[in-house]
C-alpha cells in the first residue's frame, strides 16, 4: 500500500517538473502545463489519502504511523495525527499548495488566457521543492524493519480540537501567499507594466490572511486551553515565525488599497508580496533548522540547510527580478498626483510601522544567534523585551487604524468627538480602574477606534465605509481590549483544600468536594469539579484533571476554564494527597474578548472577500449596461 503513496509522489514530482517547463517556454504550452498541474495535484492528493488510510488501518509498518498513532486513538485524532510530525506536516502543506494551484487554474482569468502560464511555473517550482523533501529527506512512507504491534500513540497534548484545526489553517495561510507571489512574478517576467496585478492578487492575499489569522489565533487558544500556564502568546520563535508573514501580509492588504497616483504603490506592493512569501518559507526554516532554541522542539539537520538555500534563492530572485523589471514597477507618470490623499499617506506610514514591528520581533528572535556569533555568548531576550519594544509601535498603529474612517472620508474634524471620548475613558481607567498608563492609553485608543468606525458605519460620515474592513478593524479592537485586560488584570492563588472546604477567590466562592478517579484502557484520570457561586447563587463549575498513561512517563493535565464576559477563572489541579487537593487558581480579565473579537475579524474578512468578488461582478454588469 505504501508503494502507492511513494509512486504517486514520484508521479507528482514528474508532472510538477513538466508543468514548470511547459509554462516557462516562450511558446507556452497551455494544455500541457494545465494537465501536468492537474495530474501533479491529483497524485499529491492520492499520496495523502494513502497516508490517511495507513493511519486509519493502523499500519504500523510505516515508521511515521507507528510514531504518531496507536490502535486506541479516536478516529478524529488518527486523521489529525497526519500532521503531528514533520513529514506529515510537509505533505499536508504540499496538498494545500496543490489545492491552491487548482484554484488558480479554475479562475476565469486563467481560463481566458488572462494569466500568464508562468504562474504555473512558479507554483510548481515550490511544489517540486516540497516533493523533493518528502521523497529524499523526510519521507512519511519510510518502513520499519521490525514493525511494532501497536504504535506509540499521539502526544496527549495534541489530542485536542485546537491541534486538529491549527496546523491546516496555518498551512492554508502560508501557501495562500504563494499565489500573489506567483501572479506578480509572472506579470513582471512577461514585462507587463500595467497595474492590473494589484487587483488580481487582492482576493488571494485576503483569503490567505484570513486563514493565517485564524491559524495564529487557534494556536493561541490551544495553548491557553491545553498547556496550563494560562497564556496564549509567549514570543516563542515558532510563534514569531507565524507572526512575520502576518505583519507583512497585513501591510500588503492595506497597500493594495492605495489609489492610483500614490508614489511607490507598485514598489511597496511588490516588496511586501515577495517578503511575505519569503517569510512563510523563513518560518519553516526557523522551526526546522534548530538554529534557535525554543520550547517547541526543533530538529536540526539537512532540512534546515535546504530551506536556508531556498530562502536565499527566493530573496535573490525577487531582488533581481525587481531590478531587471524596474521600469514595470514605476508608476505611470500620467497618474502622478492624481489623488494623493491623507489616507494613502497613513497607509504608507502604517507600512513603515508594520516593518518596524517585523524588524523588532526579528531582532529579538534572532538575538541568541547574533550574540552567539558576534559576542561569543548566547544572550536570550525574554517577553519583557518583546513587549516593551512592540507595544508602543502597536499602539501608534492602532491609533492610525482609528483614524482610517475619518481619513477615508476626508473629514478629519470627525475625529474630535471620538478623541474626546477616548480621553475621558483613559482618565477613567487611570484614576478609577487602575492598571497603569499602558492600560489607560490602550483602552483610550480602543475606544477611539471603535467610535470612529461605528460612527462612520452608522452614517455619521459622507462616505459609507465598506462593511467588511470595518468589521475586521472592530474585531481587532475587541481583541486588543482582551489582550490588554488579560495581561494587566490578573490574579492567582495556590491553595490546599480539604473536602467540603470553601474559599474566596476573585469575588467567587469556590467549593471543593472530592477527587474522582476514572480508569481507561491505557490510562487513569484523577480530577475534581469545583462549584462556583457568587453572592450565594451557583453560577457554574470548574473541572481540572490529570491523566496518567500506561506507556508514558508524562501525565497530561486538563485545565478548567470558567469564562464570562468579564473574566476567566482558570483552574489547574496541581497535586493531591489522599483527598486533600492542591489547586492553582488564576483569574484573567476579558480573555473572552480575544476569541469573540477573532470571530468578528473572520466575519469581516469573509465579507470583504465577498465585497471584492461581488463588487467586481456588479461593476462589470454596470459597464455592460452602459
Amino acid at each position: 500500500m505504501h508503494y502507492l503513496g511513494l509512486i504517486s509522489l514520484y508521479i507528482a514530482f514528474g508532472s510538477a517538473l513538466l508543468a514548470v517547463l511547459a509554462g516557462a517556454r516562450a511558446q507556452a504550452r497551455t494544455r500541457l502545463s494545465r494537465r501536468a498541474n492537474l495530474l501533479s495535484s491529483l497524485a499529491v492528493a492520492l499520496s495523502t489519502l494513502v497516508l490517511v488510510f495507513a493511519f486509519l488501518s493502523n499500519d504500523f509498518r510505516l515508521a511515521y504511523v507507528a510514531r504518531n498513532s496507536a490502535r486506541s486513538l479516536p478516529v478524529l485524532y488518527k486523521i489529525s495525527a497526519l500532521w503531528a510530525g514533520q513529514s506529515g506536516s510537509l505533505l499536508l502543506w504540499l496538498l494545500v499548495i496543490s489545492l491552491f494551484s487548482l484554484a488558480v487554474q479554475r479562475t476565469r482569468r486563467f481560463r481566458d488566457g488572462g494569466f500568464d502560464l508562468r504562474i504555473n511555473t512558479v507554483i510548481n517550482m515550490v511544489r517540486v521543492l516540497f516533493i523533493i523533501l518528502l521523497l529524499f529527506v523526510t519521507s512519511p512512507f519510510e518502513l520499519l524493519a521490525d514493525p511494532p504491534s501497536n504504535g506509540s500513540g499521539l502526544n496527549p497534548m495534541l489530542q485536542s480540537v485546537g491541534m486538529v484545526v491549527h496546523p491546516p489553517l496555518l498551512f492554508m495561510g502560508f501557501s495562500g501567499f504563494l499565489v500573489p507571489f506567483a501572479i506578480v512574478v509572472s506579470r513582471l517576467w512577461a514585462r507587463n507594466s500595467s497595474d492590473s496585478w494589484l487587483q488580481e492578487v487582492r482576493p488571494w492575499a485576503l483569503f490567505a490572511w484570513l486563514f493565517l489569522t485564524a491559524g495564529i489565533v487557534s494556536g493561541g487558544q490551544w495553548a491557553y486551553n491545553e498547556l496550563g500556564w494560562g497564556g496564549y502568546w509567549a514570543w516563542d520563535p515558532v510563534e514569531n515565525a507565524s507572526l512575520f508573514p502576518w505583519l507583512t501580509g497585513t501591510a500588503l492588504l492595506h497597500t493594495l488599497l492605495l489609489d492610483k497616483g500614490h508614489a511607490g504603490r507598485k514598489w511597496w506592493s511588490y516588496i511586501l508580496i515577495a517578503l511575505t512569501f519569503a517569510l512563510t518559507i523563513f518560518g519553516t526554516f526557523l522551526t526546522r533548522s534548530g538554529v534557535l532554541d525554543s520550547v517547541h522542539a526543533f530538529s536540526g539537520g539537512v532540512l534546515g540547510s535546504i530551506f536556508f538555500v531556498v530562502l536565499a534563492a527566493i530573496v535573490l530572485f525577487s531582488a533581481g527580478l525587481a531590478w531587471r523589471r524596474r521600469s514595470c514597477l514605476a508608476e505611470d507618470p500620467t497618474d502622478q498626483g492624481l489623488s494623493a490623499n491623507l489616507l494613502g499617506t497613513a497607509i504608507k506610514a502604517g507600512n513603515v510601522l508594520y516593518l518596524l514591528l517585523f524588524a523588532a520581533v526579528l531582532l529579538g528572535t534572532m538575538f541568541p544567534l547574533l550574540s552567539r556569533n558576534l559576542a561569543g555568548r548566547e544572550i536570550v531576550l525574554d517577553e519583557t523585551f518583546f513587549n516593551q519594544v512592540t507595544v508602543p509601535i502597536f499602539l501608534v498603529l492602532f491609533f492610525l487604524m482609528g483614524l482610517a474612517p475619518v481619513l477615508a472620508a476626508g473629514e478629519v474634524r470627525r475625529a474630535l468627538l471620538p478623541l474626546g471620548l477616548a480621553v475621558l475613558v483613559s482618565l477613567y481607567v487611570l484614576f478609577a480602574v487602575g492598571g497603569g498608563v499602558t492600560a489607560s492609553v490602550t483602552f483610550g485608543i480602543a475606544v477611539f477606534g471603535a467610535a470612529t468606525h461605528l460612527g462612520a458605519l452608522f452614517g455619521l460620515s459622507k462616505r459609507r465605509p465598506k462593511l467588511g474592513s470595518t468589521l475586521v478593524h472592530v474585531g481587532v479592537l475587541l481583541m486588543l481590549v482582551g489582550v490588554t485586560g488579560s495581561s494587566i488584570y490578573t490574579d492567582d492563588v495556590f491553595v490546599t483544600v480539604e473536602p467540603g472546604e470553601e474559599i474566596q477567590f476573585g469575588g467567587y466562592t469556590v467549593g471543593y468536594q472530592r477527587l474522582q478517579t476514572r480508569y481507561g484502557m491505557d490510562r487513569y484520570t484523577v480530577g475534581t469539579t469545583l462549584r462556583l457561586s457568587r453572592s450565594g447563587r451557583e453560577v457554574g463549575t470548574l473541572t481540572s484533571e490529570k491523566t496518567f498513561w500506561e506507556n508514558r512517563t508524562q501525565p497530561s493535565t486538563q485545565v478548567g476554564v470558567f469564562s464570562t464576559f468579564k473574566e476567566d477563572l482558570y483552574l489547574n489541579l496541581a497535586g493531591w494527597e489522599g483527598q486533600t487537593a492542591r489547586l492553582h487558581l488564576q483569574r484573567f480579565a476579558l480573555v473572552g474578548w480575544i476569541w469573540f473579537g477573532s470571530w468578528v475579524v473572520y466575519l469581516g474578512a469573509v465579507l470583504a472577500l465577498l465585497e471584492h468578488v461581488l463588487g467586481r461582478k456588479l461593476g462589470k454588469q454596470v459597464k455592460a449596461w452602459q
Binding site: V295, L353, Q388
Partner: protein
C-alpha cells in the same frame, strides 16, 4: 527643504525610534544562558541568572502538597541543586535540557523563579 534631505530624515526617524525602544527594552531583559560550571563560580552573588543544563535523571523529587520540585542539573563537569516552588510541568520527565531562571540562596541551592523546558516532544521534528 531639499527632497533628498527630507527622505533621509524620514527614513532615519523610524530606525532611531526602533533603536531607542530596543535599547531600553534590552537593558531590562537581556539574559545570558550560563553553563552550570560558569554559574557555580557565581554562587555567592545576589545576581539573577539564567542557566541551561541537563536534567540528572534520578534527582527529581516532587512534593505535590506544597508544591515543591527539587532536581539537579549538570553539564558533565559540575552539578547544581535546583529548587522550584510550583507545579511539576507535564512534560518534565521528557525534557532533555532545562532552562532555569533565578538566584542562588545562601545554602548554594538555586532558587528558580521561572522554569523552561526543552522537550523533544514529538509534536515537532523527528528523532
Amino acid at each position: 527643504m531639499n527632497k533628498k534631505v527630507k527622505i533621509v530624515i524620514l527614513s532615519l526617524l523610524p530606525v532611531l525610534a526602533l533603536g531607542f525602544l530596543a535599547f531600553r527594552a534590552f537593558e531590562n531583559s537581556a539574559a545570558y544562558y550560563y553553563t552550570i560550571s560558569e554559574a557555580k563560580a557565581l554562587e555567592g552573588q545576589e545576581q539573577k541568572l539564567r542557566i541551561k543544563g541537563q536534567l540528572v535523571e534520578d534527582s527529581v523529587d516532587y512534593d505535590s502538597s506544597i508544591p515543591l520540585l527539587e532536581f539537579a542539573l549538570t553539564d558533565q563537569d559540575c552539578q547544581i541543586e535546583v529548587v522550584y516552588q510550583g507545579v511539576l510541568p507535564d512534560n518534565f520527565h521528557h525534557a532533555d535540557e532545562v532552562i532555569v531562571e533565578g538566584k542562588f540562596n545562601s545554602q548554594g541551592q538555586f532558587m528558580v523563579s521561572k522554569l523552561m523546558l526543552q522537550c523533544p516532544s514529538k509534536y515537532e521534528g523527528e528523532e
